[in-house]
């Protein structure tokens, strides 16, 4: 007698227990707290918040713990949680010119009004494993030296400096009236506006954008970019409640912003000038916003009358494949049973092979 495999439910429950056990690891080692993750794995938390589209360090840290440090899985957890949250209001645009800057650099000028502010960065560390971090005694409480002078509160954005001379294209708003596209509420549509594109890229997978940005630099998209400015720090978020009619501050978020400046030779109607690519993300996410700015600029190819011949310039290709929750879901769904369709294919292949054989036999006989 043949007994079909049953007990899917039991297997699932057992698998849940096993993953819980595996996640905990050796119980002799103290359990890590979400608070420790939020404090000590801050850049992981920043990435999860940015791509998970929720600004909440505690939830992001919890997601990282639950996902055993698998950041794409943690991003997925935040996104699924996001679905259950009602929407109270739309924020006013954040003003990054009024950012409380922690880091701000420009590669385009030696010095800039407000100064270059190196801030916390791994850029100039030597990538040597620091065994002191592995020592049982830990690192104690490292403290940075205070700056001799407080930061200049006036830090104009570098793109605005170029703008004074008319060397860089103007960013024009489409007015307060225009509703901003929100792809968490409506599906993508093409051709995509810049709002849809930037939201997609801000939520997009860092690795995917990094590779695309890199491809642009290597010639698959041919613009020479300059890091006009990268700034990171706190900006305040405001909403205008219907019943008040004026803006109120609801809190601060840390964001990273990148303005890439690109050459542009001009066209029939436009004199030669610099063009921009823009990147913005929650948290300290420099690699992400730089890649985002490169891809944003590459995707403007058609708008600027350039030939769009490379992957990074292909709007449907980039926007449809940037989301790692969609991508990892669809790749992983291949693990689901497909035996019904496989059976259909088996039937076909056997039939085709039989017909092939018959043909050969007939040909040999002739």
């Amino acid at each position: 007698m043949y007994v079909a495999v049953k007990g899917g439910e039991k297997a699932i429950l057992n698998s849940h227990r096993l993953i819980a056990e595996t996640r905990r690891g050796n119980p002799d080692v103290p359990e890590i707290s979400a608070e420790q993750i939020a404090e000590q794995l801050g850049l992981a938390v920043d990435r999860v918040m940015a791509e998970g589209s929720i600004y909440d360090r505690g939830l992001a840290a919890l997601a990282i713990k639950q996902a055993q440090g698998d950041l794409v899985e943690a991003i997925f957890l935040l996104r699924a949680y996001r679905t259950t949250l009602p929407r109270f209001a739309n924020a006013q645009p954040v003003d990054t010119a009024r950012m409380l800057v922690r880091r701000r650099i420009s590669a385009a000028y030696k010095d800039i009004p407000g100064g270059q502010v190196l801030g916390p960065t791994y850029d100039y560390t030597h990538r040597l494993l620091d065994f002191a971090l592995a020592a049982e005694t830990g690192v104690g409480t490292p403290e940075a030296a205070e700056a001799e002078e407080p930061l200049d509160p006036h830090m104009p954005r570098v793109a605005e400096i170029l703008d004074e001379e008319g060397l860089v294209e103007r960013e024009h708003t489409d007015g307060q009236e225009a509703a901003v596209f929100d792809l968490t509420r409506e599906p993508m549509s093409f051709p995509a506006g810049r709002d849809q594109r930037l939201q997609n890229l801000a939520r997009g997978d860092e690795g995917f954008l990094l590779a695309l940005g890199y491809s642009v630099q290597r010639g698959y998209g041919g613009n020479h970019p300059f890091a006009g400015e990268i700034r990171m720090g706190e900006v305040s978020v405001e909403i205008v409640p219907e019943e008040l009619g004026f803006a109120i501050d609801i809190g601060d978020v840390v964001v990273t912003e990148c303005q890439m400046i690109n050459q542009f030779t001009g066209s029939k109607d436009t004199p030669p000038q610099f063009t921009r690519g823009y990147g913005l993300a929650f948290g300290h996410n420099e690699r992400k916003v730089m890649a985002m700015a490169l891809v944003d600029r590459a995707l403007r190819a058609r708008e600027l009358g350039e030939t769009a011949a490379y992957p990074a310039q292909d709007e449907e290709f980039v926007l449809y494949h940037a989301d790692n929750v969609e991508a990892s879901g669809f790749v992983s769904h291949l693990k689901l049973p497909h035996y019904v369709d496989f059976q259909a294919e088996l039937n076909l292949i056997r039939k085709l092979r039989r017909e092939h054989e018959e043909r050969h036999r007939k040909e040999a006989a002739e």
Partner: protein, 312 residues
Amino acid sequence: MSAARPAWDEAYNFAYLDEQTKRMIRRALLKALAVPGYQVPFGGREMPLAYGWGTGGMQVTASVIGPSDTLKVIDQGADDTTNAVSIRRFFQRVTGVNTTEATEQADIIQTRHRIPEVPLREGQILVYQVPQPEPLRKLEPRETETRKMHGFGEYGLMHVRLYEDIARFGHIATTYSYPVMVNGRYLMSPTPIPKFDNPKMRNNPAIQLFGAGREKRIYAIPPYTRVESLDFEDHPFEVQRWPHACALCGSRESYLDEVVLDDSGGRMFVCSDTHYCATRRAAGHSGAMAEGSVARALAPSAGKQEDSHERA
């Protein structure tokens, strides 16, 4: 309201989605029924299940389901496949509704890859999980292009593709996701059901709803609607047939799965629709390897006989 409120995990909204999301999906469903086979874009949300694992079907079910409904979930025709179990558990948790394996008793059936063997009745709702709603996607990767083709009802590309099959193999080499024309107007992907199930879509008394979560599309076939599998006059559409019966229930009418019994070519064929098979066995039907029959594996040579397949 007379219906008793069901017990669900009230840490979540009833059926997980917030009311605003349900309204948006419900509006899309009504438009989908008004234009059979047309893919309505909708603001799909992330679900607590991975994209590609049934998020579209889940959002449709969640927007339709009520406390007095009885739900059945199948994957590959079976109620006990792990993903079917997982989705059923999700709805038990977030709605508290009754679930069943019996096709006849279900008000809503969420499915992946199959249509049940037992004919559906009026009022039942079949919710398909759809990985790729666009039947033309493999021929034209761009949404902007395929949307134009649907707009103008321009489906020459698909006919060319099928005709190339005939030129090359002597027949159409599509065995699942076999494209259909709905109400004479829209080319539609029947999701990867085997073409064996295609004829069941036509003039079905039940409501057929399709949800593609990752691609954010919803479409529908109302009851009693024309659904035609594409074919050519000299190459009419035909479905898969097997030269043998189900080894458990003896059915010669159902879609069969091949089960490999050993590594020397032994195999058997059983119904993919587990409830259909169990019902037949309970009614006294039995196949070659059912309980009470002589236990034996098919000899390796028996596997070769099976190569005859499409008899139709």
